[in-house]
Symmetry: C2
Subunit: 302 residues, 2 copies
């Protein structure tokens, strides 16, 4: 659809939501105070390098960024840290550590110590931990969970010495076998509470926890353990690769505003990080993605 | 691969597991005491009519059957009841009631009363309740759950008068939006415990609950509330239609023997019902499916 200007004035640029394609209003301007807590997780603009994502945030008026290891490594950790700092962006999280359920404990711990070092260098307050699934052919879920908890105990002091909080992320139970044996916020808190506040916390990710009958109780219980609040929506049908099924806030079934109110009521005042794994979002113009992200944030979360 | 007989004796028939296609040993013979608790949920042999499923059970030495409304209606409820009774099969469950989360409460209750009447006529001890998802465009999960619980309260006395237990089935959280807002065994028990034992119980279905960090506690808590124990395995990748992703016992990641031990330790002595929604299983020869079902039962559950 062509959005034409009439006589006598410049046409407003046509704006369309990503990935729905629905016509949309103008995005909020940089400096809009309603954007104050919005953070862009790099994974939402997966085709951008770290420098591109930093510049995109500046253009869209987004003041914080959640970084990922792979693009940070590509740009170089020191250079990434400098770029983010010079742009005046906060780092809301660093993704990711974890994968602690295998039998090669030494290698996993080593890799996680490297991720912690990088998080510290980048100024990330927390390292998001995706703890890992069942080892190939192994059905001992109780055992895998125990190994994971032991590994967290091993890493927590190392992280604390470097000012990095380990943020345990419960993943949706459909990822239990292959991604994360940590399946509920309550389970994450049972582990986090064994450590001092600030040393081990939890991620509240709306995609992963929205369905949980105990989610509001557990968010209240989490309180100052909430190290990261990530948002995206539950949309159906699930795609062929269920890792890529996350929707733009407002496009799906999760009551994200209610979860946001609960997180704030629990005392969380930090960044609200938009993290969307979605092939259609990745195929779109990243600036249009950011425009949708800021519109949705203002509409649903500000 | 041809499995040939040598000289001097008849060849053993080639046996292959469904759907893996792996060569398999002979199925246990009808009358094998290890099959005593095995039940066939009709959905596992979706292409068979009810009379065919009854005959298939007799050939395979399976002494119980879980019936579904659609094939029972096709055969006729009275005739279905007679066929099952004359074959000497137990009815382990009747699937399914539910879908109680919509705003047309009257129609939903009416449909469920019909299902309860049918369950009674068929001699089913319980009606499996798949409670329904979020209404179209509705994100109020708390409200949908409340409507569901109220409807259960409405139906429970009606069912009790007819000797039918309402068996609340928690579905895997990936079905929360579109199938069942009842997502954990604990949540199901919170509702069931409001009613007398025998009036409202729960289904323990390994596919739906295996991932739950609280599953062993909740099974122990369930005790005599366990109205039905259904088994199938969590296999990956999820298919395009995630409703059809269930695997044959032993093919996936769920620790089904451990869940079985827990259910028995909780006091359950009833049928172990194999319910597999899987396009590859449905495309196979149903007798070969039953042979695999009996082999797997003996190997993993007897």
């Amino acid at each position: 659809m062509a959005v034409g200007g009439g006589h006598g004035g410049p046409a407003a640029p046509a704006a369309f939501d990503v990935p729905s394609g629905a016509p949309a209003g103008a995005a909020p301007e940089p400096g809009d105070p309603r954007l104050a807590r919005l953070s862009l997780n790099q994974k939402t603009v997966d085709n951008w390098s770290l420098p591109e994502a930093v510049q995109g945030c500046l253009r869209a008026g987004i003041g914080a960024i959640g970084l990922w290891r792979e693009p940070a490594a590509e740009t170089g950790i020191a250079r990434s840290a400098r770029l983010v700092r010079e742009a005046g962006l906060r780092v809301s999280s660093y993704c990711r550590g974890g994968f602690l359920t295998g039998y090669d404990r030494t290698a996993a711990l080593e890799e996680n110590r490297r991720a912690i070092d990088e998080a510290a260098e980048l100024g990330a307050p927390c390292l998001v931990m995706v703890v890992g699934g069942l080892p190939e052919g192994d059905r001992d879920l109780v055992g895998a969970r125990a190994r994971m908890a032991e590994a967290v105990a091993e890493l927590a002091p190392y992280a604390a010495e470097r000012g990095v909080c380990l943020a345990l992320e419960a993943l949706h139970p459909m990822f239990c076998a292959d991604r994360a044996v940590l399946s509920t916020l309550g389970q994450a808190l049972d582990i986090a509470e064994l450590f001092p506040v600030g040393q081990v916390g939890v991620v509240v990710d709306t995609y992963h926890v929205w369905w949980d009958p105990r989610v509001y109780q557990e968010i209240a219980r989490a309180g100052e353990r909430i190290a990261s609040f990530q948002v995206c929506d539950w949309v159906l049908p699930l795609p062929a690769d269920p890792l890529l099924g996350r929707g733009m806030v407002g496009d799906g079934h999760a009551d994200i505003p209610a979860l946001h109110r609960a997180v704030d009521a629990a005392g969380y005042t930090g960044d609200i990080e938009v993290e969307i794994f979605n092939a259609d979002v990745w195929a779109a113009d990243p600036d249009a993605v950011l425009a949708t992200v800021t519109r949705r944030h203002v509409h649903h979360l500000a």
